[in-house]
């Protein structure tokens, strides 16, 4: 104690200050490294476990699929495959020929690897992929560059979902698979296997992952696409490396972007940042469409929302204009069908719009009429005798009992402020009708547990930020087969008519025929309203101008494999700097 009280504090402070000054003027030495801000640390680089956006962002640079969407048209084009698959309707088989490609360790990518990947998924029933491979009977090696997939029956999603999955290297995974298979819990062992240095076939390869700070990806010199032209793009990569810097929070990442510490922030940003960023001449902003669905779902298994009239009244009272213009600050589109509008091919626009763009009193009037006709009564009716709108109170269900209070579950505000806020606002709209609604944000895990597994809820607001282009999810969401714990039919929608259409759509391969079926399905949902689609937000992304050019815009943003293959350092501006 005696000694430590004697320390000269002034010296300490002086040293600190001098260090600060030394550091603040340290020089910088930059090469052609793209620096990208990530909002959160990737969960894992184990491709079988990675289900979160950040992991997928990294892994998409490393593991490549056979086929991929083309930026402009979103049509499927060959990627690792050389050309489109050859279908044989007799044997229900597809034959795929591979390009001459190499793994990042220099070995050849062959059909063995493709078969091996398929076998892992099927053998372990890897949860994220298994359902897409259920109908694949077997995979056969024809020769080094050719594989054939035998299906149990024709399947619409085979091309769009099954063949767009990543291919892994047999050499890397063989041992792991062998060990895992011997274990008591093979799947667990496989999923929990820690991948330090993934071997991939993509344009970049992981050099270093410093946990909590950054990931450092270097150019893959064995990348198959270098120099070749796919879909009109002469692929690179022209970058030496990419650094993914992990920011905990968006606001600091935006500051970093403004300061120039990073070149791109790979996450949709909140409209709140826009005003400031748009004024900044160093920043370029991209607006892209998102294949996303944000909706309000109901529990059709129990009162009060087992009554379709109440659901219709709800649809009437929800003002999508308000949500899009205020909560989304106009960066989004109103949604009326389950398939997002941006998915132009599959979206049916001819669905019921439930008084879109009507003023508030008209909405209430419509909702009131719907409910009154269905036998609902009020203590104080929301529409008085003169037809004026007043605050309704004490709604009674058609059987004469007061409606019990119910909750609208939403994700918490820190997870998604839009949905939480929407819940709050919708609660108020319900209350205008005298309906005792309570909005309750819930942590995401608990919310899913309640909605998916326990089914003890009344209503919820959820969304999918990145729906696949293939509309197979319409079937999955509402097929009565999926109405069980952990099933995706969270509303408990059961309609044999819909089930029949859905089953049919599953096996229809001809797109136009399938489209007709899906339109019917969408209309059916819009009529029965297990879900009320609310909005699709726009994706806003910001990058720094000047250092790199060549961003490729496509649906779901500029952060795509095409961009990273096409980005070029802008030496011209750099010199003039």
């Amino acid at each position: 104690m005696k000694n430590f009280l004697k320390i000269k504090h002034s010296t300490l402070i002086a040293i600190t200050i001098s260090i600060v000054f030394c550091l603040s003027c340290k020089g910088e030495n930059e090469t052609d490294i793209l620096k990208i801000g990530l909002a959160e640390e990737p969960r894992t680089l184990n491709v079988w476990l990675a289900s979160d956006a950040n992991s997928k962002k990294i892994l998409s640079q490393i593991y490549q699929p056979l086929y991929m969407s083309e930026p402009a048209t979103q049509k499927l084009i060959p990627w690792l495959a050389k050309e489109h698959p050859v279908y044989n309707p007799e044997t229900i088989s597809y034959t795929v020929t591979l390009r001459k490609a190499k793994w990042s360790d220099g070995t050849d990518l062959t059909s063995k690897d493709v078969v091996f990947t398929a076998n892992i998924i099927k053998d372990f029933r890897v949860p994220l992929f298994a359902s897409k491979w259920d109908f694949v009977k077997k995979v056969e090696i024809i020769d080094k560059q050719t594989v054939r997939f035998y299906l149990t029956k024709p399947m619409a999603i085979f091309l769009t979902r099954t063949l767009t999955g990543p291919v892994v290297q047999k050499k890397e995974w063989e041992k792991i698979v062998q060990i895992a298979k011997k274990k008591e819990k093979p799947l667990k062992t496989l999923l929990n296997h820690k991948i330090e240095k993934p071997v991939g076939s993509g344009p970049f390869v992981l050099k270093e992952w410093r946990k909590g700070s950054y990931l450092y990806l270097k150019k893959n010199t064995y990348f198959f696409g270098e120099g070749i032209i796919i879909s009109g793009f002469k692929l690179g990569p022209f970058l030496d490396a990419i650094i993914f810097k992990i920011f905990g929070t968006s606001d600091v990442a935006i500051l970093a972007l403004k300061k120039g510490t990073i070149d791109m922030f790979w996450k949709g940003i909140q409209p709140g940042y826009l005003a400031d960023l748009q004024q900044n001449s160093d920043i370029r902003i991209f607006f892209s469409e998102k294949s996303a669905l944000y909706f309000m779902g109901f529990n059709l298994r129990k009162p009060p929302f087992n009554d379709i009239n109440l659901r219709r009244a709800a649809a009437a009272v929800i003002d999508r204009n308000f949500i899009v213009s205020r909560i989304l600050q106009n960066y989004g589109t109103k949604l009326f069908s389950i398939v997002p509008l941006e998915n132009k091919f599959w979206c049916c626009q001819d669905v019921d719009h439930y008084c879109e763009s009507h003023p508030r009193d008209k909405r209430i009037l419509l909702a009131y009429k719907t409910l009154r006709n269905a036998g609902y009564t009020w203590k104080i009716s929301p529409v008085d005798l003169d037809g004026n709108i007043v605050e309704g109170k004490g709604i009674r269900t058609p059987n004469g009992k007061p409606m019990e209070r119910f909750t609208i579950l939403t994700p918490p505000a820190d997870y998604d402020p839009h949905r939480a806020m929407s819940g709050m606002i919708i609660q108020e709209w319900f209350r205008d009708l005298g309906i005792p609604a309570y909005s309750r944000p819930m942590s995401f895990g608990s919310l899913l547990q309640t909605v998916k597994t326990k089914h003890n809820f009344e209503a919820f607001i959820l969304g999918y930020g990145k729906l696949s282009l293939d509309p197979d999810y319409v079937r999955i969401f509402f097929h009565s087969k999926n109405d069980k714990p952990r099933g995706w039919n969270m509303s408990g929608y059961r309609n044999p008519c819909f089930d029949r259409l859905a089953d049919q759509s599953k096996t229809t391969i001809d797109p136009n025929q399938r489209k007709k079926l899906l339109f019917k399905m969408q209309k059916m949902i819009s009529r029965d309203l297990p879900y009320i689609p609310l909005y699709t937000p726009k994706l806003i992304e910001a990058v720094r101008k000047g250092k790199f050019t060549g961003w490729v815009e496509m649906q779901n943003g500029i952060g795509n494999i095409w961009s990273f293959c096409m980005l070029k350092p802008d030496h011209h501006t750099k010199k003039s700097f």
């Binding site: 606001d251 940003i269 709140g272 400031d276 205020r326 918490p412 997870y415 944000p441």
Partner: protein
């Protein structure tokens, strides 16, 4: 007035009228308190915040658009700076920041005082019971206190809210209260132990008083000032914890607290663009905790200095 030495302070007091001397004793303490600059500043600040809390009922009456949670200005659909209609501007969906700020004062008082009150009641009674009865009751209660004491309250509430979904404001109050008593009870216990040694407790025992009577009539009035002192500190910490919780996104979403406002400004990306939105709630949180703390410090100096030992 000339008397002798400091000991004759008691003598000086002899001259006061005999009646109502309890009140005069209180007045004397009040005088000391009032002389204390920090205490005075704290009280003034505190009354300002109380005024804010009272005023929070007014804006929604003027116009429903001033309702802190649901009222939106029909003309404004994004965050704008101060104007005539919105003195502190609006938030990103056009709600008035000033009325949110006022409502936040109400929540802060509610959270702070009720949670501090519960934890003080708990802490004081547990401390007195442990201190007075001693032995295994003491051992059990104090080990319990030890267990709770090593758990950082904020993180505990975080875990609770992760486990049981979003907590509503009263649950948060309760959880904070349940995890903030050990500090108080330790101090009260120590105080009770010294009081227990004091002969007046033994005299009461000799008079045949039951333990409950001794605790309530003899120990409690003597530890109450100390509890009150700790209450001011607990109010501060409860407000801070609630604000931090809301800031991290685990607050009660249906209440407009200052932490919540900060969370909105943070999460919607207005952090560094809307100082009119960022600064007021932060300053308010800091100032209200400061004012409670100041009052506490001033009380501390009025009270017997030997009573104070530990705080955070």
């Amino acid at each position: 007035m000339v008397t002798n030495t400091s000991d004759s302070m008691a003598g000086a007091l002899d001259m006061l009228p005999k009646k109502r001397q309890k009140i005069s004793a209180f007045n004397e303490k009040w005088l000391i308190f009032k002389e204390n600059f920090i205490g005075r500043a704290g009280l003034i600040l505190l009354s300002l915040f109380a005024l804010m809390a009272l005023l929070s009922f007014i804006p929604p009456l003027i116009d429903p658009m001033y309702h802190p949670m649901t009222g939106v200005d029909p003309k404004i659909s994004c965050s704008v700076g101060p104007s005539i209609h919105h003195w502190l501007g609006t938030d990103f969906i056009g709600r008035d920041i000033l009325s949110q700020l006022l409502a936040g004062a109400k929540i802060a008082f509610m959270v702070g005082i009720s949670s501090a009150f519960i934890s003080i009641v708990l802490g004081t009674s547990i401390g007195m019971i442990a201190g007075y009865f001693g032995r295994y009751i003491d051992a059990i209660l104090m080990r319990l206190a030890d267990i709770i004491m090593v758990m950082p309250t904020l993180l505990v509430v975080l875990i609770f809210s992760s486990l049981f979904g979003q907590l509503n404001i009263w649950t948060i109050v309760l959880v904070i209260a349940l995890f903030r008593w050990p500090g108080v009870s330790r101090v009260i216990r120590a105080q009770t132990l010294t009081l227990k040694q004091r002969p007046f407790i033994e005299a009461a025992k000799l008079a045949g008083a039951s333990p409950i009577r001794i605790i309530l009539r003899h120990i409690m009035p003597n530890v109450l000032p100390l509890s009150l002192l700790y209450m001011t500190f607990r109010v501060s910490s409860a407000i801070i914890i609630e604000a931090a919780l809301a800031f991290l996104g685990f607050g009660d979403p249906s209440s407009v607290s200052w932490g919540m406002m900060l969370q909105w400004v943070w999460k919607t990306g207005h952090m560094f663009q809307a100082p009119y939105w960022l600064l007021p709630p932060g300053i308010c949180i800091s100032l209200i905790t400061l004012s409670f703390y100041m009052v506490g410090r001033a009380m501390d100096e009025v009270l017997d200095p030997r009573l104070r030992k530990e705080d955070d």
